[in-house]
Each structure stands twice: as structure tokens, then as C-alpha cells.
């Protein structure tokens, strides 16, 4: 087989695999909605507000319920020192109702 044929075959296979990724994603999304894969009812009843991504600090565990100044509340002139604080931004300023 010529090198160009090998290259074109590789490209065709690669493009086919990438074209199949949305199908796989759709299948997995449908599977996650099946009753056996849904979160337990006890959890949905809790009306949770945040993803459990980071547990080291309260303002990164529950960013939606924290203030912009929450990372600096340890003492006057305190600086944010949690590593995840550099990745998870504070919430945007809330509209005053």
C-alpha cells in the first residue's frame, strides 16, 4: 500500500471516529436519564444548589451561596490561600433586588 493511501485511510478512520462521538454522547446522555441512573429521590428533595467539585473551602464548595469577599474573611487583611480559589472565580455581583 502506498504511503498516501495509508495516510488517506488514517484520515478517513479518524474523521469517522470523530463523527461518531456525538452519537456516543447522545447514547450516554439518554442512558443517564433512565430511572436506574437518575440520582436518588432523597437527593433531589434536598434542592441542592452546587456541584461537589471541590471540598477544601466553603466558598469553592458552594460558590453560588458565597459572597465575593468570602475568601478574605479569615481575619482583616487575609489573603485567599486555597489552591482551588485560583481556579473557581467568586460569584458575579448579585443584582440588588
Amino acid at each position: 500500500m502506498r504511503n498516501s493511501s495509508r495516510f488517506l485511510l488514517f484520515v478517513v478512520v479518524g474523521v469517522t471516529v470523530i463523527a461518531l462521538l456525538p452519537c456516543h454522547a447522545h447514547y450516554r446522555q439518554q442512558a443517564s436519564l433512565r430511572p436506574m441512573n437518575r440520582p436518588p429521590e432523597e437527593l433531589t428533595e434536598l434542592q441542592l444548589t452546587d456541584l461537589c467539585l471541590v471540598t477544601e473551602a466553603r466558598h469553592t464548595r458552594h460558590p453560588s451561596l458565597a459572597d465575593r469577599h468570602a475568601p478574605f474573611q479569615e481575619h482583616p487583611l487575609a489573603l485567599e490561600f486555597f489552591p482551588s480559589g485560583s481556579f473557581i472565580l467568586p460569584p458575579s455581583p448579585h443584582d440588588s433586588p
Partner: protein, 378 residues
């Protein structure tokens, strides 16, 4: 048509053999290119999947949460506030929520403790996240103690462990009864952590929030839309994590493409000069360079995207999880549900493959338009 196709294949064949002659350099180029695409595509997949998870979690969130602020800190809110808020027109229900954090001095982990009088949250029982079960090494039916402000620890029996698939919601959760919650934290009577408000008409939410703020100026109403906005900003491209990785990858790519665009090696110039002297047209040389660029950038894009998909959705993004973990002792083991946004992949294609291919053609065009003799001697 067939002749054109055959000509293109012959030039591609020549381009591949030309790349093969400098295989050490070109393989290292390909590896670096794959790495950059891999990082960018992993970030796209990771952020899209987390956005979907956040949207699912927030679907169940209360319409409005009312906190109380004193001296810039969140404080416990009196239950009477709930009764007064319930009397506002348009409010359907006000639920008092009791929740807080427990620092486990035994292993340094932080847990989120929630009071909920469900069948498993009976007195002395607890429903826990799988992260808590792992860090405390407990199974269903076993007992585990939690330190209280008094002398007696609170002994809880594990009634339920939430499955690993719920880790993104509940890895650090401990759900106990209201009585146990009060004992655990010596919680003051008549106070709650915050209030969850449900309204009859969501369009009235800003009005209800304004009424609550005027009724209790020390209160802080948080709308569901604000929570959604917070998560949009976290996973936005300008968000801390996204921006950091995006900038590093884009800068690497710019350096990489710049290296190609600034000029050809003496060997490459000599090769172009020889091709021109044996009768190749400038357009043929440009076509050759186009195929050389494609032979590097197309496989790099295909491999980078496919590897990124596997990294995020089959291996749970170990590269990013290390960054997110920080000092957390307890970290969720999550298997993200795949989300593929074709438009984002197309943008990635046009921002990486096209600039690289162009950067390969431009210096070759400059060399191909000069005299072959000068090109060979330069």
C-alpha cells in the same frame, strides 16, 4: 478529474516521503501539536460536561434562597423570618434549611451536613455520600462517630450510601435528622441556616426578592438565575481555570506556528530550489507544502480530539482533577456524561489546522518565487 486526483496523490506521496526524510523533527512537531489540541479539546469537553451537570443540579434548586448577613458574614436566620416571608403575596412555600460544614479532624476532610427528616434520616441514622464512606471506611449498617461540642460524640449508623454516579452532587454529604443536627452542632433553637422560597409565578421572583429585602434589610435573597449565572461564569472561557489552560495552550500554539511561519531551514530552501530547477511550477511547490502542512495538522487534530474524548469521558479527566483537587482530602470520583458541541470542534479546527497550514505555505511561497539558483545557494 481522475488525472487531477492522481496528481494530488502523487504530490501527497512526495510530501509524505519528504516528511519521512526529516522524521525526527516532524515526529516531535506532531507530538507537540497533538498535545496542544489534546489540552484544548479536553478543556472544551470537560467544561461542556460540567455545564450540563450544573444545569441538571440547578434544575432542582429552590427559586429563591434567603440568607441573613451580619457584619458581612452569613449568619443564622430566625425562623420567624420564614413566617413573615410566607405571608408575602406570590410566595407558595418557605422551607427552613439546616445545613453546615463539619471538619473531620480524624482525616482532615470537610463534609457538608444537611438535616432532612427522610426515611433514612431517622434519629441515629445517616445517608452519606460515597466520598464520606471512602474517607471514613464505613459500609451500610456500620456506625461512625462525629465530634460534638459536648463530651459525648454523636454515633450514627450508615443507612444509605449514595452511588458513585451521584458523586458530583453528594460525595461529601451527610444527611441526618434535625434532632441529630442540633446535637452535632449544638444548634441554637429558633434559628436555621437559610430559607428556601418557592413562588407561584417565577416572573414575580424579582418583586418577591425586593419585598423580602425591604422587609428584612439584613437579608440577602439569592435568585435561582443568579446561581445559574455563577456557574456560567465559573465555566465561562474567562473563568479562572478555563482562561489559565486556554492561555497556556494558545500561547504554545502561537510559538509553534510562529516557528513555522518565520522561515524554512536551509535544507528545505535547497529542496524547493531543486524542484523549481527541474521544472516544478510555483503552484506545485505550494501544493506540496500544503500537503506537508495537512499531513502534520490533520492527524494531530484527529488524534488530539479522540484522545481528549477518552481522557475526559473514560478516564474522568485526571489532568484537570489534580488541579481542582487542591488541598481537598475528599474528592468526588465522577464519570462525566459526554457532551459534544460540533460548533466548538469546528472552531478548534479552524483556529489550529488552518493557521498552521497557512504558516507552512507562506515562507515556501517566498522561497518558491525567487530564482531557483538563489534558493539553492541561500
Amino acid at each position: 478529474m481522475i488525472r487531477t486526483g492522481e496528481r494530488q496523490r502523487n504530490i501527497l506521496e512526495f510530501a509524505l516521503s519528504s516528511l519521512h526524510r526529516r522524521r525526527g523533527r516532524n515526529l516531535s512537531l506532531l507530538a507537540m501539536y497533538v498535545l496542544i489540541i489534546f489540552v484544548l479539546a479536553s478543556l472544551l469537553f470537560f467544561v461542556s460536561a460540567l455545564k450540563r451537570e450544573a444545569a441538571l443540579v440547578l434544575h432542582d434548586a429552590p427559586d429563591l434562597i434567603v440568607q441573613r448577613m451580619i457584619a458581612g458574614r452569613q449568619e443564622l436566620i430566625p425562623v420567624e423570618y420564614g413566617a413573615e416571608i410566607a405571608s408575602i403575596r406570590g410566595v407558595a412555600e418557605v422551607r427552613s434549611r439546616l445545613w453546615g460544614y463539619y471538619f473531620d479532624s480524624w482525616n482532615g476532610a470537610n463534609y457538608t451536613v444537611i438535616a432532612h427528616n427522610s426515611p433514612t434520616g431517622t434519629e441515629g441514622g445517616a445517608a452519606i455520600g460515597s466520598g464520606v464512606a471512602r474517607s471514613r471506611k464505613v459500609k451500610v449498617g456500620e456506625m461512625f462517630p462525629l465530634r460534638t461540642p459536648g463530651t459525648e460524640p454523636l454515633l450514627l449508623e450508615v443507612k444509605t450510601i449514595f452511588p458513585d454516579s451521584s458523586d458530583l452532587r453528594a460525595a461529601d454529604l451527610i444527611i441526618i435528622s434535625t434532632a441529630d443536627f442540633s446535637r452535632l452542632f449544638n444548634f441554637p433553637v429558633g434559628k436555621v441556616t437559610d430559607l428556601a422560597v418557592t413562588v407561584t409565578n417565577v416572573r414575580e421572583l424579582p418583586t418577591v426578592a425586593a419585598k423580602i429585602a425591604s422587609l428584612h434589610p439584613d437579608s440577602r435573597p439569592i435568585l435561582k438565575s443568579e446561581i445559574q449565572r455563577t456557574y456560567q461564569s465559573i465555566f465561562d472561557w474567562r473563568g479562572g481555570m478555563t482562561l489559565l489552560i486556554l492561555l497556556s495552550a494558545v500561547l504554545s500554539f502561537i510559538i509553534f506556528a510562529w516557528d513555522r511561519a518565520t522561515g524554512l531551514s536551509a535544507e528545505e530552501r535547497k529542496e524547493i530550489g531543486i524542484l523549481k530547477s527541474i521544472g516544478w511550477e510555483t503552484s506545485d511547490v505550494l501544493l506540496l507544502k500544503f500537503w506537508e502542512g495537512c499531513a502534520i495538522s490533520l492527524p494531530a487534530f484527529l488524534l488530539g480530539v479522540i484522545l481528549a474524548y477518552g481522557h475526559v469521558f473514560f478516564l474522568s479527566a485526571p489532568l484537570f482533577s489534580q488541579a481542582l483537587k487542591g488541598w481537598s482530602i475528599l474528592y468526588p470520583r465522577f464519570q462525566l456524561v459526554p457532551v459534544v458541541d460540533i460548533s466548538q470542534l469546528l472552531v478548534l479546527f479552524f483556529l489550529t489546522v488552518i493557521p498552521y497550514t497557512t504558516a507552512t505555505i507562506i515562507p515556501s511561497w517566498r522561497t518558491a518565487t525567487i530564482d531557483p539558483d538563489a534558493a539553492m545557494r541561500s
